[in-house]
Point group: C2
Chain length 70, copies 2
């Protein structure tokens, strides 16, 4: 099985967010994750990196578009 | 092995973009993909959806931030 575990990285720490993730897709301003049991989680995050052979997805807080205002 | 094939979706058609993808991470205003042989491809795209059990990643053209100007 090729599901992966998703970790949320914050302040240098990686915390397990969801195990056995199958589906990832954009949802509103973040992501929808669905595990192999069909459970869904929504998170305001973006993919930081992903290594499929390691079954590992790292999420991070979504970086808002930069503002040019001072 | 849990690598996936990446397809680029454009005008309703999905075209194989890269086989045996291992790593995906953001790169500048798009994505960097690395296959199991270490070959890299860069693409100005975002993930449309991904199903790991199907070894399938669908990319689409990056949608620019909406402009409110008329």
């Amino acid at each position: 099985m090729c599901e992966a575990n998703a970790y949320f990285k914050s302040n240098g720490q990686e915390v397990l967010f969801m195990e056995s993730v199958d589906v990832i897709e954009p949802y509103e301003d973040g992501l929808k994750l669905v595990d192999i049991f069909g459970r869904q989680k929504f998170v305001k995050a973006q993919i930081k990196d992903m290594t499929l052979l390691n079954h590992r997805i790292v999420l991070e807080e979504k970086i808002e578009a930069k503002s040019d205002t001072l």
